[in-house]
Symmetry: C2
Subunit: 622 residues, 2 copies
C-alpha cells in the first residue's frame, strides 16, 4: 500500500514527504549473485493467489521507497551502495566548487530552498588512470556496476530461461545481438564497444546501476523539473520518487528558474536512478536569461558544479553548428529543442561557431573526470511531422557522430538523442541513420510523435512511435506526458507518461524477442483466463488503476472471484465459456489420443465431422 513518508526534520523546510510503500501484492527482494555475493540487486516480487504458482519477479527501479523495511530519511539521502566500490577505484577527493548565489538564481531569504543536508565526499578521476565505465571496460575490468547490471537484466531467472527459451525466441531484432543470458562479461564488452552505457557519476553513490543499450531491456526516462512559472521543490522530489515507483529507469531534472542547485541536491541525494540534466538551462539562468551572454566560462562552471553534485548524464547540444541554423529557416516549426534554440540563437547572434562544438574536447575532459555520460542533444530535432528527417536534422546527426568518436577517444560514455515528431514511415530511417552515423552508440529518443493533431494525447501519439523505434533498436525512450505542448506535467501526468512508456518499452522488448519478456504477459493472461482478478490487477503496470476501473461497476469482494466482469456480464463471458470448452476438449483428448492430429487432418482434408466423446455436454452458462 502506498502511503506518505513522515515529515523530515523541521529545520529543512522542503521537501516534506514522498510516496512510500510496496505496490499492491508486491514486496521488494534483493538477490545476491553467486559470483558477486557482495551485491544486493533489487527486484519486485508479485505474489500470486494460486499457491501452486511461483511469484513473478519484475525489474524494479523504485529504490528504497517501495521497501517496507527501509527507513526513508530524505535529509540523509538514500543508501550509498556504490561507496565501497568507488573507494577502491583510486579516485581523488576534492574540496569542490563553492556554491554561489547565482547557482540558485539569486534566491535568498524565504525564497531560497535549503540544500539537502546529506553531505558526500566529492570525488574525481585522475588523469592517466581509468575512471569511466568505458575506460574500465576497455581495460578489461568488470566493475561492480557491470555485474550489478548483468544480474538485474537477467531478473534472476536462469531456470525460467532454460524452460522458456524456445517458446519465446521469435522476435525480429533488426540486427540487435541480445544474448539469451546476460553475463557481466557481456556487459563489459558492450560498454567497451560503446554500444551500451552505464550512466554512473562517481559522485552519485546512491545509484543502483543500470545499462542503456539496444542489447538490453528497453529503458524509459521521465522528465521532471519546475519552470519559472510553476511548481516547487517538494513537488519535484515527489515527482522523482513517483516516476521511479511506476518504472522510470532514469529521470531528467529539467528545472529552470530559481533554486536549481538546491532542488537538484534533494533529487540526486535521494535518487536510486541516474539523473540527467541539460546544463545550458542553468547556465542561461546564471546570465540572467539572455542567450547572447552565454559563454564557455559560465558553461564550464556549470558542468563542474553539476558533475560534483552527481549528475549522471548531461545533454550537450554541441551538434547545433552555426551552419546548420539556416537549414531550419523554412521549417514549419523551426527549432523546438530548448537547448537547441538557445544555442542556435547564440550562434546566429554572435556570428560564431557554437562554443560547445569548439570546446568539445574540453567538455569531454570534464565529463570524463566524473564519469558523466554524454547525452548528445538533438537541438535540431523536428517539432512537426512536416519537418521530420530533414536536412537540418540529419546534418546535426552527422555532427553527433563526429562528436561521438571524439568523446570515445577521450574515454567518455555517449548516447545520442533523437526526435521528436516523425510519421511512422520515417521512423526506421532514423534508427538506421543513427546506428550508421554514431557507430552504434545508444539512441535515446523523445517519442517520436507520429502525428501533430492530438495535443492532450501526446503520450499516445508518441507512445506509438516510441514502441516502434524501441523495437527497431532505440535503447531508451524519453517519455511524453499528456500535457506536452500545453503545460507543465503534474503528478498524475508523470504517472500516465511513465506507464505509457513502460508499456511501449515492453512492447518493444516483446517484439525484439527479448528472452523472458513474455513471462509477465503470460502470467497476466493466465490470471485473466482463470479469473484470478487480484493477480490480474497486481501483475499489471498500474494495479491501482486496473482495480479501480474494475470496481467502478463491481466493487464487492465476491466479484474478485467472479467468472465475469461488467463488460460482458455472466452469460456472455467468453473466458467462462472457453473454460467450459477447454474442459470438454480435454476430456475428449484424454479419451482419445491423437484428437488434435485428427483435427488437423480435418482442416487439411476438409472432410468428415469430428466424432465427440460420449456424454460430452456441460452446464449452460448462466
Amino acid at each position: 500500500m502506498s502511503r506518505t513518508s513522515p515529515n523530515i526534520s523541521s529545520d529543512t523546510a522542503a521537501p516534506v514527504a514522498v510516496t512510500v510503500g510496496a505496490l499492491p501484492g508486491s514486496r521488494k527482494v534483493y538477490a545476491r549473485p553467486a559470483e558477486r555475493p557482495d551485491l544486493r540487486v533489487p527486484f519486485r516480487e508479485i505474489a500470486l493467489s494460486d499457491p501452486s504458482l511461483e511469484p513473478v519477479r519484475v525489474y524494479d527501479t523504485s529504490g528504497p521507497y517501495t521497501d517496507d523495511a527501509a527507513a526513508i530519511d530524505l535529509a540523509a539521502g538514500a543508501p550509498c551502495l556504490r561507496a565501497p566500490w568507488l573507494a577502491e577505484r583510486g579516485l581523488e577527493t576534492v574540496a569542490g566548487r563553492a556554491v554561489r548565489p547565482e547557482d540558485n538564481g539569486g534566491a535568498s531569504g524565504e525564497r531560497l530552498v535549503p540544500r539537502c543536508p546529506a553531505e558526500r565526499t566529492i570525488l574525481r578521476g585522475r588523469a592517466g588512470a581509468p575512471v569511466t565505465q568505458l575506460e574500465l571496460a576497455r581495460a578489461g575490468i568488470v566493475t561492480p556496476e557491470m555485474a550489478f547490471v548483468a544480474h538485474r537484466e537477467n531478473l534472476c531467472r536462469e531456470a525460467a530461461a532454460a524452460e522458456a527459451g524456445a517458446r519465446l525466441a521469435d522476435g525480429e531484432r533488426f540486427g540487435a545481438a541480445i544474448p539469451d543470458f546476460v553475463t557481466p562479461e557481456f556487459v563489459r564488452d558492450e560498454v567497451a564497444r560503446g554500444r551500451a552505457i552505464i550512466p554512473a557519476n562517481v559522485n552519485h553513490p546512491e545509484l543502483e546501476p543500470m545499462a542503456i543499450g539496444r542489447n538490453f531491456l528497453v529503458k524509459i526516462n521521465a522528465n521532471i523539473g519546475n519552470s519559472a512559472v510553476t511548481s516547487s521543490v517538494a513537488e519535484e522530489v515527489e515527482k522523482m520518487v513517483w516516476a521511479i515507483r511506476w518504472g522510470a529507469d532514469t529521470v531528467m531534472d529539467l528545472s529552470t528558474g530559481r533554486n536549481i542547485h538546491n532542488i537538484r541536491s534533494w533529487i540526486i541525494r535521494n535518487s536510486p536512478v541516474p539523473i540527467g540534466t541539460v546544463p545550458i538551462y542553468q547556465a542561461l539562468e546564471k546570465v540572467g536569461g539572455d542567450p547572447l551572454k552565454l559563454d564557455w566560462e559560465v558553461f564550464k562552471d556549470t558542468l563542474i558544479e553539476q558533475a560534483e553534485q552527481g549528475v549522471d548524464y548531461m545533454t550537450i547540444h554541441a551538434g547545433v553548428r552555426l551552419a546548420h541554423v539556416p537549414l531550419t529557416a523554412h521549417r514549419v516549426t523551426g527549432v523546438v529543442s530548448r537547448g537547441g534554440s538557445i544555442m542556435a540563437r547564440w550562434c546566429l547572434a554572435a556570428h560564431r561557431e557554437s562554443f560547445l562544438y569548439e570546446r568539445f574536447e574540453e567538455i569531454c575532459d570534464i565529463l570524463r573526470a566524473y564519469d558523466v555520460s554524454f547525452s548528445l542533444g538533438d537541438g535540431l530535432r523536428p517539432g512537426s511531422v512536416a519537418d521530420a528527417n530533414d536536412a537540418a536534422q540529419f546534418a546535426e546527426l552527422e555532427t553527433l557522430g563526429e562528436l561521438t568518436t571524439i568523446a570515445w577517444d577521450k574515454g567518455c560514455q555517449v548516447m545520442i538523442e533523437g526526435p521528436g515528431h516523425v510519421p511512422m514511415h520515417k521512423i526506421e530511417a532514423n534508427m538506421k541513420k543513427q546506428l550508421e552515423a554514431c557507430g552504434e552508440a545508444p539512441f535515446y529518443t523523445l517519442g517520436p510523435l507520429t502525428t501533430d493533431i492530438a495535443p492532450g494525447y501526446d503520450h499516445i501519439t508518441s507512445g506509438i512511435g516510441a514502441a516502434m523505434i524501441g523495437w527497431f533498436g532505440c535503447a531508451m525512450l524519453c517519455y511524453v506526458t499528456p500535457k506536452e505542448h500545453l503545460g507543465l506535467p503534474d503528478r498524475d501526468d508523470v504517472k500516465t507518461g511513465v506507464i505509457t512508456y513502460k508499456l511501449a518499452a515492453h512492447a518493444a522488448d516483446l517484439a525484439k524477442g527479448h528472452p523472458l519478456a513474455r513471462i509477465r504477459d503470460d502470467a497476466l493472461s493466465q490470471a485473466r483466463f482463470a479469473f484470478r482478478w487480484e493477480d490480474q490487477f497486481n501483475l499489471s503496470l498500474d494495479p491501482d488503476t486496473a482495480r479501480a476501473f474494475h470496481d467502478e461497476t463491481l466493487p464487492k469482494e465476491a466479484h474478485k472471484v467472479a467468472h465475469f466482469c461488467s463488460m460482458c456480464g455472466p452469460k456472455f463471458c467468453s473466458m467462462k465459456i472457453s473454460q467450459d470448452i477447454r474442459a470438454e476438449v480435454q476430456a475428449f483428448a484424454a479419451a482419445e489420443e491423437g484428437m488434435r492430429d485428427k483435427a488437423r487432418e480435418f482442416v487439411e482434408g476438409g472432410g468428415a465431422l469430428y466424432v465427440p466423446a460420449p456424454g460430452e455436454t456441460g452446464d449452460p452458462v448462466t
Copy 2:
C-alpha cells in the same frame, strides 16, 4: 459549445437527451458536388484566428448533432437523406416481422423500454435485380452513396491537392493504391472489386454513406451497448451520439440483456453512421442464454429482425468450425471472442459443424436482400500475445477467405475481422495473410494489443498496434477503451477510446502518404509555432481537453496569446526563440541570396565560418 438536447416528448420515457452543438471554433458545412448537386456532403470547418488563413475542413462523422441549425428530435429520428435514392432502386415494401416479447428479452411493464416511435417503410431487394452496393457497382452503376463517399473522402480540397501533392506524397503504402483524387468511378470500382464496402442497409435511410477499404481514409469503430449487469437505453443512445461527435466512423451495438430490440430502434433511427451488430448475442438471449439451445431458426429470425430495423453490417462467426475448436485447447487464453466462444461451445456440445457455416449461403441470401454487409467474425482471435498467429487463428482466417468468395458470389459486401492481441513483430504477417486469404476484402481489426501487461491502458497498448496495422493496410480499426478487460466503458471511456483511435488512424493515413492527410498536422503545427493557442486547441482532435490542460496553469485570456506556456516558461520557450532565429535568418537571406547554398557548402566542406549580415542582433528573450 456542447449542450444537452431538450427532453423529447414525455410519452416516450427514454432516452431523454443527447449532446448537441458544434465543436469549439467549428461549424457544420455541407458541400454540393458539381456533378451531383442533389447531394449534401457534411464537413466540419475549423475557423482560424488569423484572418489571412482559410478555415480547415475536416471529415465529419457527427451528423446533425453538431449542426447548430438542425432541430434534433430523437423520437422522429434523423433526417432520411437516402430516402429519395432508395425510392429509385426498385425495392419492394414489406410488412415486416412483428416484434415479439423475446426480442426484448421478455421485458414488460416498467422494465420494457419503449420503441423509438419513428416509423420507416421496410424495404427489401428483389431477387434477380441488383440491390447491394456490390451488385450495383458490378452493374456499372455509380450510386448516390458512391458519389457521396467520393466527395467526402476528398474533403472538397481539389485546390489544396494540386498545391500540396508533391509535398505530401512520401508515404509507404504496402501495396495500397490510394489515388490522388477520389472519383465516384474509383469508388464504384473499389466496391466492385470487393476491396471496399459501403455498409448501407436499405432500411437505414438516415445514413450518411462512408466507405471502408484500404485505399480510403482509415476508419474507426466504437462499440457501445449495455450488458446484463449495467447501463440503460438513455446512456447507450448518448454514447452513440458522443462517439460520433469525436469521430467514430461506425458504431457497433453490442447490447445483451433485456430491451435489445427497442434500444436498437433508438440507436439506428438516430444514427448517421453505419450500425453494426453481432446477431448471435440477441439469438442467445432469445433462447434464455443457453448456447446449446441455439439453432438456425432462431438465428435466421434474428437476422431478419435486425435487417428490417436497418443494421448496416453484422458480425457472423461462420469461420468457427467444429474442427478448429480443439486447436484452441492449449492456448493461454482459449477463445476470447464472445460470439466465437458461443459457437465453439455449440459445436463441441452438439457434436456438429457450425450451423453458421452450414447455412452460410442462406445467410448470404438474407443479408443481400437488405444490403447488410458481412463482417466475418474472427471468433478464434488470440486473446493474449502468447496465442498470436497460431494454428487456430489462421485456420479460421482461411475459412473466412472461403466464405468471402461465397458471399461475393451471392452479391454481398464483405469485410473481415481480425485480432486481438499481437506483439508488434507479428502484426504485418496478419495483414499480409488476410489480403492473400480473403482476396483483398477490407480488414477490420480490434487493436491489436501489443502487450498484455497494461489493463487500464489497453486503449494505448492497442492504439500502437492499430496505428501499425492501419499503416500496413487495415481499413477499419475497432477501438479499445481503457476499461477493456475490466468493465463496461462509460461515456468518458468511449471518448478516450475514440480519440485514441482517431489519432492512430490518422497516423496510419500520414504514414501511407495519404494525399492531404498532413494538412491538419501542418495547420496545427503552424498555429503552435505562431502561438495561436485557440487555433491549436480547435484544430486538435479534442479541443476541450487541450484547452483544459493549458488552462490548468495559465487560465487567463491574456495567456491565449502568450508566447510561452507553463511547460517551459517565457525564457525557455524554444518556439519563441526560434521565431527570433527565423526573423534573423530571413533578414540575412534577404540581404544575401544563396545563403542556404553557402550553408550547405559549409556543412559539406566543414570549412570557414559564416559571415553574418551587419547589425544582425535581436532583443534578448525575456
